[in-house]
Symmetry: C3
Subunit: 331 residues, 3 copies
């Protein structure tokens, strides 16, 4: 008698695994923003809106009943793990929460990421992975027979953040084409800036990059933007973009990036979003931020209806619900 081949835990009715058909996402890993075209983005955003309607009406559904998500966080990220947990629970699925950082767990005792992933996929239908090393999500996905969703791999990607950023812009302003979007802060190391920029290249937008000299957008990405024929400018001061921008995408500038603290203080002031700055902005623009913030948007701005960053947080849950339903074949 021959040993058996392991059958998949989850029976993907309507798809080829890792080569899914319906909506192109069923059974797929979500590793990078590079894998999304405009049609797929449209699909995700339509589903995200449906998820929002459902949650506001009844709170949860049974769509993913019988499905288990493993939240495997090698570094804790309460915001992201909570968003995925709530998303899965509101879809009627279950969660294995490994969210306090695996360094406290025996999983880390010499075991490779591949073995950990191949273990946890025996219990679950989808794995959400946060890991400090670039490329780890891809490595995990290569070893998994169930979908892996990259929830941040160090300096690499954080694709669901970029999706929720893009969804928020479209949802708040009703469109993407024709918008002028200003990215502000640490454009050199800011993972979310890079990912969102890449997604925006699919649309007819203008981009304004506002940063201190030492934190300018990386050369290769800047060239990609130029090659795409996008209207683009770089500047050091928010004042240069505030009047025409439809979107301010503000990010944190970390003190540790500066050898000269006086320079850091100067930069901080030049980039801060205050009620005074907001007075010069358009009436129908929005301010968004991947959070957490540490002062770059003043708390007094929160009451401004154009401050969209907490609505953005909630959108993250809806976008993740849409993604989970899609990769698990419940389109």
């Amino acid at each position: 008698m021959n040993p058996k081949t392991l059958e998949p835990l989850f029976n993907y009715d309507h798809m080829d695994r890792k080569n899914g058909r319906s909506n192109g996402l069923t059974g797929q890993d979500i590793l990078s923003v590079d894998q999304f075209d405009v049609d797929t983005l449209d699909y995700i955003f339509t589903r995200s809106c449906e998820m929002r309607e459902m949650v506001r009406r009844v709170g949860s559904t049974d769509l993913l009943r019988g499905n288990v998500l493993t939240a495997l966080f090698y570094e804790p990220s309460t915001r992201t793990s909570s968003s995925f947990i709530a998303a899965m629970e509101r879809l009627g699925g279950n969660v294995i929460p490994i969210t306090q950082g695996v360094q406290y767990s025996s999983v880390s005792k010499g075991e490779t990421l591949a073995d950990t992933v191949r273990t946890l996929e025996q219990y679950s239908d989808v794995i959400v992975l946060r890991h400090p090393e670039i490329g780890s999500a891809k490595a995990a996905a290569d070893n998994a027979t169930i979908p892996v969703i990259n929830a941040g791999d160090g300096a690499g990607e954080h694709p669901t953040q970029a999706l929720l950023d893009l969804f928020t812009i479209r949802d708040e302003l009703g469109r993407l084409d024709g918008l002028q979007i200003a990215m502000i802060g640490d454009l050199r190391y800011g993972r979310t800036v890079h990912s969102l920029t890449k997604l925006l290249l699919h649309y007819d937008v203008s981009l304004r990059f506002v940063s201190p000299e030492i934190l300018r957008l990386p050369l290769t990405l800047m060239n990609e933007v130029i090659d795409a024929g996008i209207d683009v400018r770089e500047t050091h001061d928010v004042a240069d973009v505030i009047e025409k921008a439809d979107v301010l995408y503000v990010t944190r500038v970390q003190k540790e990036r500066f050898s000269d603290l006086a320079q850091y203080e100067e930069v901080k002031d030049a980039h801060a979003i205050t009620p005074e700055v907001m007075k010069r902005a358009k009436e129908d623009m929005i301010v968004i931020h991947p959070l957490p913030r540490v002062g770059e948007i003043h708390y007094s701005v929160d009451k401004d209806p154009r401050a969209a960053y907490f609505r953005q947080v909630q959108n993250g849950m809806f976008v993740r619900m849409a993604l989970l339903a899609a990769v698990l074949g419940k389109a």
Copy 2:
């Protein structure tokens, strides 16, 4: 086009938010024992009994299906977080468990409590907060559009503990009026003693306070008791109250409070509840304790049917179920 105002995730059908009508609790924060009057206490206790019947009969219900509770514990408290988690789950709701102490999480990286709360409320319908700083629960509630339940804010309050203490007395002895209740141990710093005492002022009870001299009830609270016209006495020895007490509310005396360790040992002996002490107590009295204990009630007392402290633990789950259902508008 104007940016949208964020709609509440949870649609409170029958109430004004933070000014709820039905039962006075719908949409309310639970921050302090000061917010409860006798009618509200009666309502909570009636609902707690119903919850107990339901759990004993079928284990769980669907009452809070579609609702998500965030358990946000800045310091771990397994007893309290487990009680709230089980309560929410037995009501058919879901939980985001942030229970191992947020210091291990990126949430704490410079983010204000206000921002953390405003983030987590995007995913959930109610937040249970444990935080080491007095006033933190109020601060969180002021920033939240969903109900916040205070699960302990440092030296401040822990109102659900006081409610379960009071419920246990009423449930075990069938009434509150006419009872003589002795509080024993650290009456100066004991948060639960202060809260329970305040709730008892609504009833026609006698109070006996038993503590070492340096741990007597704070002056202001003692004056409140006297002003309420309550029959009250203070003493240093359990022996003085054991024969007439209907309730012994025992609390832990922490060694750290004493500069003289010999004095601590003496106090420990004078306050210990042993089988010998219990022999002198009434037949229909009860011993309760907020737990954990570290010797102030001897383990040999556990078999005594008057030892009610583990029944008290279970009551905590029922009281929290009643509260969760009430603040979420499922009265």
Copy 3:
């Protein structure tokens, strides 16, 4: 009025608690492999197969709806806790996850294990305990009125691991009688080796023990094997058993056991399972391992269909589902 006796939270319809009748497991603690006879093992394995069919068909069931499992892990073990959590969730039950190590929690502040268990049983219907001290599971069970499942008590037992090991052998090879089973690695300290060996004494198997001299099977267990009339041999080299073995049960050899590191390296090589070693093995044999591995089975072996260790991981979930349903009276 007399204080009430605490009624059990869970109403075990068809059993005497801790003396259950139906299937012999209802209401029982699972503490040691010694408590299983062949009939009970048959029952568990039949139920495990049913659980597998159910999960593959629909993912989850409502069998344990209304039941709450407390996962109380004094040391983190992601593999084991995740397996139990997924098992309970796929049965429709709920989980209180205390899985990151209780040392971070106030439960540990001077409270005895007995008090912690007596607290948590107020909220839940079954407790799964991992604790570093031998005998702790028994101590917990003696203090609990609900079933306690031992998920590892230090150098003591880990009975559910032994059950899933045995189930995997039977499931992969279709039988237990007549098999030659080789145990490889650290046979002296390997808790899982000892437990599986004890279970195998119920069957007509041959045993081969392969270890370095300093890690041979303990004398008392070896004598038990001999007394059971089992065909048994000891050796230092996998080469001696590879051609006839139906099962290789490989375990980790810890560097710390050796004072002479050169000796460790030599042992490591003599015990390693490589594609070359596998070439000499039977076509219908299997390799299993309790995991995590740290090199004793080469990664290049994973593609061999005889490598059954990840299927074994999944079987763990099914076996635990069967056990949970059984002890909670849902046979």
